[in-house]
């Protein structure tokens, strides 16, 4: 068992009080909701997608500092990216950004809930907009096996 207290550094606390991209997009192209059954953390992500690019992304919901900080970072990473690049975002990208690589199993779910929601939103969007059902299924699988 290693100590975990150092995860609560300045950036996390700041994000938890002032999350980035917090809010709703009224005329979103896709939205997705999910929650963590164990703790009740709950996240919605809305996206505007133009020309296969995420032109805007916002989230709302309720979660712990870890969840809010990770969701903030995720939305910042995502904004402006092509859908292909969004597909490539991995857990490591978020965890390393915030120095959370060694988070214990139960908190990993707090950290990655938003990534799960993002991948599910992407899957939902693609399912409506492309024919390659195989690629969509793979994405669905990816989202559900994130943790």
């Amino acid at each position: 068992m290693t100590g975990n207290a150092d995860i609560y550094h300045e950036i996390i606390i700041d994000y938890s009080r002032n999350p980035a991209n917090f809010g709703k997009i009224e005329n979103h192209d896709v939205t997705f909701h999910d929650s963590n059954p164990l703790c009740g953390d709950s996240i919605d992500i809305d996206m505007k997608i133009d020309d296969n690019k995420v032109t805007d992304i916002k989230f709302h919901g309720n979660g712990c500092a870890i969840c809010m900080a990770c969701t903030s970072v995720l939305t910042e990473i995502t904004k402006g990216k092509s859908l292909d690049d969004v597909r490539k975002i991995e857990k490591h990208d978020i965890l390393s950004e915030l120095g959370l690589e060694h988070l214990q199993a139960v908190r990993i779910k707090c950290a990655l809930l938003s990534l799960k929601v993002l991948k599910s939103a992407l899957y939902t969007y693609l399912a409506d907009h492309m024919d390659d059902s195989q690629g969509v299924d793979k994405l669905k699988e990816e989202a559900s096996s994130l943790y």
């Binding site: 068992m1 100590g3 975990n4 207290a5 606390i13 009740g40 953390d41 709950s42 979660g63 712990c64």
Partner: protein, 414 residues
């Protein structure tokens, strides 16, 4: 045993896990007893002894071990009967825990008895295990699930019950004798009185009450009663469903299989006597035996002493916690109406973060919705932190909790 703080301190020696350290060599302060309790040597040893000396399947074989195993298993049924005052041992069914007990009722009593338009009444402060089975049942039967509301003092609003009873459609009223989030002790006598007058059956979820106070099922007068062993010093995987015999006789089998049958033929089967009709398959024999040891242990202390000890701790904890700036405690502060479960929030810090930071100090508290999301909605919060006590907890541990909260304040710059 005398109910003094020092005699309770001595009990700690019976619990090996309390000598453990966690994280950075911090002594363990275990304050998640509403979730599950720790086990004394007496319980652990009884399980070990069973496997080392008496293990066999029960009820069916004539050899020596089977006889001993059956005796040990059935002895726990008698201990339970005595512990919560049940007159007829045939009414006691062993299950995995409170959750299975309530689901058993929903299937084996609910499915043959609940019809379209009927109403089942539960409350806003129930555990999911006393809500979801009734949602499943009422959806299947096109019946309705209604809720007795909760006032801001953490007590149920019994006028709601009157309103539902007045429809004449209520078939069952089900409620927890003690809330696992607020600690509120339900006024069971009044609810049951109203229900009896209206000829309505009552189910009590005793998961939080039985471990922490004297419970007398006979004098409560309910029809179903459920509780879990692991929340009262017993092993995981064992619990009790009690059903009044006249009601039990109207229930259909739940699980089919060995031990619950009288005669199996290819196309028809007859059922065993009570309670075996409802205990299909090899039961959790060793843990039934261990549960018996837990009851012996609690009996020796005396449940009134357990309650006194927890009132004293809870009073102390509420005082100390209230003194911390930014702490908000939910529920009533009337100690006669609540058990040793304290839910709180700390300024704008999410309970997960509170729990994680105090965990660094060795303190185990729960954070989240506590399997009571309907209550969370009612309180208008996503989650709370919760400290819950048992016989081995001390005032010093309360102090350590309060100290660790100061660390939370520092990290979050409160």
């Amino acid at each position: 045993m005398q109910s003094t703080q020092s005699s309770f301190e001595n009990l700690r020696n019976d619990f090996p896990i309390l000598k453990r350290t966690v994280r950075d060599n911090k002594p363990l302060v275990y304050l998640d007893n509403a979730s599950t309790t720790q086990k004394p040597n007496q319980v652990i040893d009884s399980i070990t002894d069973f496997y080392r000396n008496h293990n066999a399947n029960i009820h069916r074989a004539v050899y020596a071990l089977a006889e001993e195993a059956t005796e040990a298993y059935e002895a726990t049924r008698d201990k339970i009967a005595k512990f919560v005052n049940i007159k007829n041992r045939q009414e006691i069914i062993f299950v995995r825990g409170t959750t299975e007990a309530i689901n058993l009722v929903a299937y084996a009593w609910g499915r043959p008895h609940i019809k379209e338009g009927d109403i089942i009444v539960t409350t806003e402060y129930e555990h999911h295990s006393n809500i979801v089975p009734w949602q499943l049942l009422t959806q299947e039967k096109h019946a309705k699930l209604e809720y007795i509301g909760m006032g801001d003092n953490g007590e149920l609003i019994l006028d709601d019950l009157d309103k539902y009873l007045a429809t004449g459609k209520v078939k069952l009223v089900t409620f927890s004798l003690m809330s696992n989030v607020l600690g509120t002790i339900t006024d069971a006598k009044k609810i049951i009185e109203k229900c009896k007058a209206a000829d309505v059956l009552t189910l009590i979820d005793g998961a939080q009450a039985v471990p922490h106070m004297t419970v007398d099922i006979e004098s409560l007068g309910c029809d179903f009663f459920a509780f879990s062993g692991h929340k009262m010093l017993g092993p995981t995987g064992i619990g009790v469903l009690w059903v009044r015999k006249s009601v039990l006789e109207t229930m259909v089998p739940f699980h089919g299989g060995g031990d619950m049958i009288r005669e199996v033929h290819k196309y028809e089967t007859t059922w065993n006597d009570l309670p075996y009709k409802f205990e299909a398959g090899t039961p959790n024999i060793a843990d039934v035996v261990g549960f018996g040891a837990a009851i012996d242990y609690l009996t020796k202390i005396g449940m009134d002493n357990v309650r006194d000890h927890e009132i004293e701790l809870t009073k102390y904890a509420i005082e100390k916690l209230s003194a911390v700036k930014g702490i908000h405690i939910y529920g009533t502060k009337d100690l006669s109406k609540r058990g040793g479960v304290i839910s709180f929030n700390f300024a704008d810090v999410h309970p997960h973060d509170v729990a994680q930071i105090v965990d660094e100090e060795g303190i185990a508290v729960r954070s989240g919705h506590h399997c009571a999301q309907v209550l969370m909605e009612r309180l208008n919060v996503a989650a709370t932190s919760r400290a819950s006590f048992y016989i081995y907890n001390t005032k010093k541990e309360v102090d350590l909790l309060v100290n660790s909260l100061n660390k939370v304040a520092k990290v979050f710059k409160l």
